[in-house]
């Protein structure tokens, strides 16, 4: 689910960016914060970083000895996305394999739904393979499926999450788009 977080960070401004005039300094701090935020991509604790919403406070700068940089503690609000075990989400199927399907849930590209977690669904081979249930519910590419998260895994090297999801439970499975 989406989270709104308030974070303290330390933003380091190089000496050459320290011009007189507070506006340019604030701009430099903000630009640096956005840059650090974008580069970070995700953390295990907060999930995927999506956007900075507000900058609450810029603290007093401290000069770092030896380098001449100035370090500003800032407090800002941001929107992140993280999935939790037990959460009910809707994902879009983007790959169908014999033993399961991969769903995309927001920034998470690989949420795996194993065939063993799809009770009542059988694999149907073909040019565009899919899973079909006895009640003629189809899980194919680009179908939206409501799933429950069984577990998540944080991949430090790739800085991304993977999720294992399932359909074991009531009211889970492919959903049709509502008539508007």
């Amino acid at each position: 689910m989406f989270l709104k977080v308030q974070l303290p960070w330390n933003v380091i401004i190089a000496a050459e960016n320290l011009k007189p005039g507070s506006l340019m300094l604030q701009r430099a701090i903000l630009i640096r914060l956005l840059s650090d935020f974008a580069v970070k991509k995700a953390t295990k604790d907060m999930g995927y970083f999506l956007a900075v919403t507000t900058l609450d406070k810029i603290g007093e700068g401290k000069v770092r000895q030896h380098t001449g940089d100035v370090l500003f503690p800032v407090i800002f609000n941001a929107v992140t996305f993280k999935v939790f075990k037990g959460e009910v989400l809707e994902g879009v199927v983007h790959k169908v394999l014999k033993h399961g399907v991969f769903l995309r849930i927001g920034p998470i590209e690989n949420a795996y739904l194993s065939s063993s977690k799809m009770p009542g669904y059988v694999y149907v081979l073909g040019e565009n393979p899919y899973f079909m249930s006895q009640k003629n519910h189809k899980i194919a590419k680009d179908v939206v499926v409501r799933v429950v998260v069984i577990g998540t895994k944080w991949m430090e090297a790739e800085r991304e999450f993977q999720a294992l999801v399932g359909l074991e439970g009531d009211y889970l499975g492919p959903i049709s788009s509502p008539d508007m």
Binding site: P8, V11, T43
Partner: protein
């Protein structure tokens, strides 16, 4: 603010928080004793740094760090138990391999512990609320993209697309007003967000998808049913 290193440096007189990876105190340039789960080597403060002045956590983390060897220093205690749980299950080579590990046979048996995993400065957002916020930023994107120095996170587009596609309400405020009173009936913030995101039609769906509520069914089924009825009214504008 005092230096929040786990072993305060004797000559650290200045008042500054270490960068969250606690590798180097930027004031006295001595290494703190690492006590955090994340050994992030890159710079920039992270949420690991102590927000609130919980000096007492220092002493607790000290012994806990020795015992568990992996902790995250957040301001709520609940997170510690979850993180240590995560550290333990990490050792079991968990669920990405097929989900047959401990108690994963029925995921609903595991209590929905989202809110226990969140420290105090985290707030759950409904998909519709997030969609509004992210769309606001998207509206400024043309202007933002003119400045090459401004970088937008890579996940922003995917997050926005997901929020818009899964957002089923056009008016997040009214949904929030309908579901907020459920907090008084024992529902947590995260459970309310899950309800809003799923947009169930009846209270049965709510209890099926949130098994943690089952234990309280007799107590607060009526308020939930009332809220579902009101939500259903939102679907069809009167």
């Amino acid at each position: 603010m005092r230096c929040h290193c786990i072993s305060p440096h004797s000559n650290c007189r200045s008042v500054f928080t270490c960068s969250a990876c606690t590798s180097l105190c930027v004031v006295c340039f001595k290494f703190c004793r690492p006590n955090q789960l994340f050994q992030m080597s890159d710079k920039g403060g992270k949420a690991g740094s102590l927000l609130s002045s919980k000096g007492s956590l220092k002493g607790k983390d000290d012994s806990a760090a020795k015992a568990k060897a992996r902790k995250v220093q957040f301001s709520t205690e609940g997170l510690e138990s979850i993180m240590s749980n995560g550290a333990k299950s990490g050792g079991k080579d968990k669920v990405a391999n097929g989900g047959k590990s401990s108690a994963a046979k029925d995921p609903h048996q595991n209590e929905h512990r989202v809110d226990q995993e969140l420290p105090e400065n985290f707030k759950c957002l409904m998909d519709c609320e997030a969609a509004v916020m992210l769309q606001g930023i998207q509206d400024h994107m043309v202007m933002l993209s003119r400045d090459p120095a401004i970088k937008i996170p890579a996940s922003f587009d995917k997050g926005l697309h997901y929020a818009k596609s899964s957002s089923k309400h056009s008016n997040p405020e009214s949904v929030r007003n309908i579901l907020e009173p459920l907090k008084n009936h024992g529902l947590t913030e995260s459970e309310i967000c899950v309800i809003a995101n799923v947009y169930p039609e009846t209270a049965d769906v709510v209890f099926a998808l949130l098994p943690s509520l089952k234990g309280k069914r007799g107590i607060n089924s009526q308020p939930i049913e009332d809220s579902m009825n009101e939500l259903a009214k939102l679907k069809q504008p009167m």
